[in-house]
């Protein structure tokens, strides 16, 4: 069980439901979800259930596409990306938990294109903490939040699969 969840953080489950409702009118029969490891993959998995999407969710780990490889090296725990469907010509919704600088999204889009040429890529996130460093905006977002320098918003998952927010500290400048 997680440590006490600060009361001021919103309920991630409620946010999920809200994000699903935002997406619902825009879905086409061949829309597929791709979640970015690890939080984004969890969110995508829940959205699939809530939206009753039949296609298996794609999961990508952007470690091989990061632009800070030269400074930080390879992430010590890279997981295999897994796109179980044909990307070519497909409308895709890229899912992440928190949108920040936009660099992860950039890496994810690049990676997606190595699987094929999608018809469209949209971005859905639970939280947007601003301070973008690239011209990337989410198409779907339920929570805009301001954080202090060094603060980090982390999505957690209970054993039951329930998602929740917690705060963390980050040394990244």
């Amino acid at each position: 069980m997680p440590e006490a969840i600060p009361t001021q953080l919103p309920d991630a489950e409620l946010q999920l439901a809200s994000l699903a409702e935002q997406l619902r009118p825009h879905l086409t029969p061949d829309t597929a979800l791709v979640g970015i490891y690890s939080g984004g993959a969890w969110v995508a998995e829940r959205l699939k259930q809530l939206l009753d999407i039949r296609e298996e969710v794609g999961q990508i780990d952007v470690s091989f596409y990061r632009d800070d490889f030269a400074e930080k090296g390879l992430h010590p725990q890279v997981r295999p990306s897994h796109i179980p469907f044909e990307v070519e010509g497909r409308p895709l919704i890229l899912v992440d938990d928190v949108l920040y600088t936009g660099r992860t999204t950039r890496a994810a889009i690049n990676e997606l294109f190595d699987y094929g040429r999608p018809a469209r890529v949209e971005l859905a996130v639970l939280a947007d903490r601003g301070e973008r460093e690239l011209p990337i905006e989410p198409g779907y977002c339920v929570w805009e939040v301001d954080l202090e320098e060094g603060e980090e918003l982390i999505l957690g998952r209970e054993e039951s699969g329930r998602l929740f927010w917690k705060m963390g500290r980050n040394d990244r400048g």
Binding site: F64, L74, S81
Partner: protein, 324 residues
């Protein structure tokens, strides 16, 4: 007694992998990281675009002081799939023939803004000399990957063998792994032995006549067998080694025929291992010398998969090194 400190030259001060020179002394977390990362790279090779931008702009120099088109090609593919620029130098012919020393060649290449050297050399320890030299001249930003040195080590082959075993058998602790053949002259065998030990392999066996076994294998945690029927009993993994042509007829062995009778892997001998045992071989195979064709092409052989895994493992090694 006077002693001398001997730091493992392939790890930096923080214990991160700086060069890959041997599987000996590779900490378990480093091996695990390489194998895990390789799993991700294996997926990359299945894509439309079999390439990631990780090493974009980096120059990987393949320095093969001993010819091996096969191994060189696997490194070349791995580097290219990481988007590196690959420069193949056939040093076995050019510079050494002109009397240039190994370290002269290295100095020269350092000036060409190399980021990584993949080194194959006929003499044990040559990559260590290069790594040491790079440190001395203040160029330890260049990483060295040992692609086989003499009889000493072939660490990427050792790691891809571990990847293969893990892929099919998951856990090492209950496994019995037999290595069969010319262990004395085999850098593959040495790399396998050290990696198996670090991964906690249940039982490691070496099967060969005394002329093809180095001494002191017991000190490396290896059980030695001279009778293949005994040694193969209940094995989960059988690693066959290549018998070099020049060793078949001479002082080490009387003939390829007698060797095959005693140490060649036939369906009958393989039947002594566990029913789900896998058969591995670093290639190229000598059919009818160390392995029967029906075994090499049979359902238990995973030899071609080793090749596929090998590319992913080499990508992982280069990716991790380039980032450290």
């Amino acid at each position: 007694m006077l002693t001398q400190s001997r730091l493992n030259p392939q790890l930096d001060a923080e214990g991160k992998l700086q060069h890959l020179l041997s599987t000996e002394g590779l900490p378990l977390p480093v091996i695990t990281q390489i194998l895990d990362t390789a799993e991700s790279f294996l997926e990359v090779s299945d894509r439309d675009v079999k390439k990631v931008p990780l090493l974009r702009g980096k120059s990987v120099f393949n320095l093969f002081f001993e010819n091996s088109t096969r191994t060189r090609t696997t490194f070349e593919i791995a580097a290219k799939r990481l988007s590196a620029d690959v420069i193949n130098l056939d040093v076995s012919r050019s510079s050494t023939a002109k009397g240039e020393t190994l370290l002269d060649t290295i100095d020269n290449l350092c000036s060409m803004h190399a980021d990584m050297f993949v080194v194959r050399h006929a003499t044990s320890g040559a990559p260590f000399l290069i790594a040491e030299h790079l440190k001395r001249i203040g160029r330890d930003d260049i990483h060295v990957v040992n692609a086989g040195d003499g009889r000493h080590a072939h660490p990427t082959q050792g790691l891809l063998d571990m990847y293969t075993i893990r892929h099919y058998k998951k856990d090492f602790s209950n496994l019995t792994v037999a290595i069969v053949g010319d262990i004395l002259h085999s850098r593959v065998a040495r790399s396998d032995l050290h990696a198996l030990r670090t991964l906690g392999c249940g039982e490691i066996r070496a099967i060969a006549p005394k002329t093809l076994l180095p001494g002191y294998l017991e000190n490396l945690g290896v059980k030695v067998f001279h009778d293949m029927n005994e040694g193969l009993k209940d094995c989960d993994v059988v690693i066959m080694l290549r018998l070099q042509n020049e060793r078949m007829n001479g002082a080490l062995l009387p003939s390829a025929g007698e060797y095959f009778k005693r140490y060649g892997l036939t369906p009958e001998k393989l039947a002594l291992a566990k029913p789900d045992a896998i058969v591995m071989h670093p290639g190229p195979m000598n059919r009818g010398v160390e392995i029967d064709s029906s075994v090499a092409d049979g359902p238990q052989a995973v030899i071609l998969n080793q090749v596929t895994f090998g590319i992913a493992v080499r990508m992982a090694v280069m990716g991790i090194l380039a980032g450290n």
